[in-house]
Amino acid sequence: MTEFEAAVLVAAAGLFGALFFGDKDQGIVLAKDLHVVKKPKFYPVVDTHAHLKAEAAMFDLAVEVMDAAGIAVTMNLSGGSGRTLDKALALAAKHPGRFVTFCGGWPDDYDWKAPDIGKRLARMIGESKRQGAAGFGEVVKWALHGWINWDDPRLEPMWEKLEELQFPVNWHVADPSRYWMKETPTRMLEAKGYYKGYPLKHALIMQQERVLERFPKLVVIASHANWLNDQIPHLIYRLETYPNYYFDLSAACDEFGMDREDFRDVCLKYSDRIFFGTDAGYSPDKPKRYGGRKHLVADYKAFYVAHFLFLGTDQEKIPCAWKGAPGQHLVGYENGFVRYANDGIALPDKVLADIYYRNAERLFGVKARGWRPKGKFSYDVQPA
C-alpha cells in the first residue's frame, strides 16, 4: 500500500466514523449531566495529579477551577526541567500555597540508548530539587513504549539518587487491563490494542517489582494506583512490603468502582498511603473545546464533584470521573456506548481527611487544612 492509498483509507475511515458516531464531543459529559443528590462534606482537597502548561493563563485558569471546586492545592506533574522548570516554579510562586511543582519525566530530551542515561537523569533530579521541585514525575510508561525497561541497569543511578534524596517519584507504569484486550460488542470501554507487539501488563509490573525490591526505601506514588485495581492482592502486598509505596487515585475511580467492596476495604486499611488525584489537564486548547472559559470551569468543577460523590457519599449511579483521551470525561461515550456509572462508597471522615489532604501535608509539607474558598461555597454544579 502506498502512502497515498493509506491516507485515503484513513480519511475514508475518519469520515465514516464521524458520520456514524457523530460529534466526538458527545464523549465529554458536562456539568449538566451531573446531579448532586447527596452533598459531600467539605474538605480542603489536594489534587496530587494534574498537568499544567507553563503559561500564566493556564495557572490563572487552574486557580479559578480550584476555587470553584474547593481544591486547596494542586500538584503540577508537568514541571519539566531546566528553564521550563524555572518558569513553572515562577508561575506557581505567583499563587502562594496553591501549587506544588514536580520536575520532568518527559521523554523528548532523552537519548534512551545512552549508556549514561541513568547518571544524566540523576544529575537532572539533583538540579531540579535545588531549583525547588518537590518530586519527580509524572514518569510515564517508559517501558510500555519500549524506550527503556524499568529494571535496566543503566537506570540504577537514577533510582539510587531518588532513594538517597527521599525524592518522591510519581510513577506511571501500566494502563487499564482492558487496553490489552480486544474491543467487542460487550466490552464497550476504550481499548488500545496493546495485545499485539506490546509488553504484557504484568511483565511491566514485575519490572517495577524488581526495582522496588532493590530500592525498598524509594518514595513512590504509583500513578493511577499502578492500575492494580484488578489485582488488589498485589496492591496489598506492595503496601505491606514497601513502607514508602503510595498511590494516587487519578483516573482509577472508574476501575475501582467495579470492585467497590475490595476498594473500600483497601481505603479503610491503608488510608495513610492513598492520595487524591484526578489527572486534570490545563492547556491552551481546553477552553475552546469546552465552549468557553465559563463552561470549562463549570465542567471541571463537575469533574471534581463526581470524585467527591464517589468517595464521600452513597449516592448511586454517579457518572464515572475519568480523564480519557478526548478530554476529561465524566462519562464517556466510546463507539456510541456509555461508560458504566459507579455507586458511591461513602468513606468515613478520617479516611477522607487522610486521602484528601493529610497525607499530602505530611509528605510534601504543604498546608491545606484551614483553607477555604473565598465567598459562598457549595458543591452544587451549575451548568454555564
Binding site: 501488563k201 488488589i232 475490595d262 476495604d265
Partner: protein, 398 residues
C-alpha cells in the same frame, strides 16, 4: 439492665435459629438447577476430584459420572504407600475411568526435617513406579505454615518432578475474600486469614520463584491459582511458562464475576485449561444427601451447573462451588445468597480442549468416543431424599 440484655440475647438467638434453621438450606440440591438451555454433550474429564479409598466411594463416583456424562475423573487423594496401592487397585476395577495422583507428607510429617525434600523425592519416585500419573493435590503448604514453597530444602522434590515429567496439581492460595473480614458487603464465606497468615501475593511470589527456577515443571494450578481476580498476572504466567496450566475447579464462581475477561482468557489459552470441579466422593456423603439416588442426582446437578456456565448462555445459573460444608451449588452464608452467574457460552473448539482434549494429550488417556450407556440427557430429575434418622445434632455435616 443485665437481665434485659440476657433476655434480648436469648430471643435473638432463638429468632436466628428459627429464621436460618437447619444449615442444610445452605446446600442447594438437584432441584435448584434448571436446565433451560441444554449444553452440547462432551465426554468431560474432571481433573480435580477427591475419592476416598473405599469401594463405596468409587461406586458413588462412577454412578455420578455416568449420570452427568463425565468420562474420567482424576483422583487427587491417592496418597502414598499402601493407601496409594488401594486407590490404584480400586481405580483399576473401572478401566479408563480414573487417573490417580499421588501425595506426600501429612500432618504427622516432620516439616522441619533437613532432608524433607529428598524424602518427598523418593516417595514420588516410588509412587511414579506404582502408576501414579501426577502429584497432588499439593495443598497450601506455605499458607498452613508447614514449609515455604521456595524453601531450598524442597529443591530435590522440584528437581525430581522435572526429571519424571510428572505433573503437579498445585494449590497455593485461596480466594481473595478469605483474607478480608466478613462484613455487610463481604457476604461470602471468609476464612478470616488475618494478621498471622501470609499475604496471598507473598504465596504467589514464592511459587513464582519456583517456576522461574524450574521452568520444565509441569504445573496444573489448582483453582486457577485463584488468580481469578488477577487475570493480567495469569496471562503473564501463561506467556512466560509454557508448562503452566490451570484447572477451573471451585473457581467458576470467581471467574463468573468477570465474564468478558474469562472468555478472552479461555479462548486464547484453551489448550492450557482443564475442566475440574473439586467434587468429593465418599461413602459418608450418601448418608448426608439422603441416599444413593438422591446423592447421584445432586452430583449430576453440580456438574451440569458447570456445563451450563461454560457452554450455554443461560442466565442466573447457581454457582458451582465446593465450599467448606460439602459441595454447594449455591450456598447461603449468614442468610445471604451467593451470586449466580450468566453462562459464557464458549465456542465448541474451546470447550473440547477444556473438557477432554488437553487431558488426553497430557495424560495419554482416550475418552473422545466415550458415551454414557443407555439413553442420556443433561436433564436433572430430582430424587426426594430418604428421610434420615435424627441425631442429637441438626447438622450431620458438622
Amino acid at each position: 439492665m443485665k437481665k434485659v440484655l440476657g433476655v434480648v440475647l436469648i430471643c435473638a438467638t432463638a429468632a436466628a435459629a428459627f429464621a436460618f434453621g437447619n444449615r442444610d438450606q445452605g446446600m442447594v440440591t438437584a432441584d435448584k438447577v434448571l436446565v433451560l438451555k441444554a449444553p452440547k454433550f462432551y465426554p468431560a474429564v474432571d481433573v480435580h476430584t477427591h475419592i476416598d479409598g473405599t469401594p463405596e466411594a468409587f461406586d458413588l463416583a462412577v454412578k455420578s459420572m455416568d449420570a452427568a456424562g463425565v468420562a474420567a475423573s482424576f483422583n487427587l487423594s491417592g496418597g502414598s504407600g499402601e493407601r496409594l496401592d488401594k486407590a490404584l487397585e480400586l481405580a483399576a476395577k473401572y478401566p479408563g475411568r480414573f487417573v490417580t495422583f499421588c501425595g506426600v507428607g501429612g500432618r504427622g510429617d516432620d516439616w522441619k526435617a533437613a532432608d524433607i525434600g529428598e524424602r518427598f523425592a523418593k516417595s514420588l519416585e516410588e509412587s511414579h513406579k506404582k502408576g501414579a500419573a501426577g502429584f497432588g493435590e499439593t495443598v497450601k503448604w506455605a499458607l498452613s505454615r508447614r514449609i515455604d514453597w521456595d524453601d531450598p530444602r524442597l529443591e530435590p522434590m522440584w528437581a525430581k518432578l522435572e526429571e519424571l515429567k510428572m505433573p503437579i496439581n498445585w494449590h497455593v492460595s485461596d480466594p481473595s475474600r478469605y483474607w478480608r473480614p466478613e462484613g455487610p458487603l463481604n457476604t461470602l464465606e471468609s476464612n478470616g486469614y488475618g494478621k498471622d497468615a501470609p499475604l496471598k501475593q507473598a504465596l504467589l511470589f514464592q511459587q513464582e520463584r519456583v517456576l522461574e527456577k524450574h521452568p520444565n515443571l509441569i504445573v496444573i494450578a489448582a483453582h486457577a491459582n485463584y488468580l481469578t481476580d488477577e487475570i493480567p498476572y495469569l496471562v503473564y504466567r501463561f506467556e512466560k511458562y509454557p508448562n503452566y496450566n490451570i484447572d477451573i475447579a471451585a473457581a467458576c464462581d470467581e471467574f463468573g464475576r468477570l465474564p468478558e475477561e474469562f472468555v478472552d482468557l479461555a479462548t486464547k489459552y484453551a489448550d492450557r485449561m482443564f475442566y475440574g470441579t473439586d467434587a468429593g466422593y465418599s461413602a459418608r456423603k450418601v448418608g448426608q444427601y439422603g441416599g444413593l439416588e438422591s446423592t447421584i442426582q445432586d452430583f449430576k446437578a453440580f456438574q451440569v451447573a458447570h456445563f451450563l456456565f461454560l457452554g450455554t448462555d443461560q442466565r442466573m445459573i447457581p454457582i458451582p462451588f465446593n465450599g467448606n460444608y460439602g459441595r454447594h451449588l449455591v450456598s447461603w452464608e449468614n442468610g445471604f445468597t451467593r451470586y449466580a452467574n450468566d453462562g459464557v457460552a464458549l465456542p465448541d473448539e474451546v470447550l473440547k480442549k477444556i473438557y477432554y482434549e488437553n487431558a488426553e494429550r497430557l495424560f495419554g488417556i482416550k475418552v473422545r468416543d466415550w458415551k454414557p450407556a443407555g439413553e442420556f440427557s443433561y436433564e436433572i430429575k430430582p430424587v426426594a431424599p430418604e428421610p434420615r434418622p435424627r441425631t442429637g445434632s441438626t447438622d450431620s455435616r458438622m
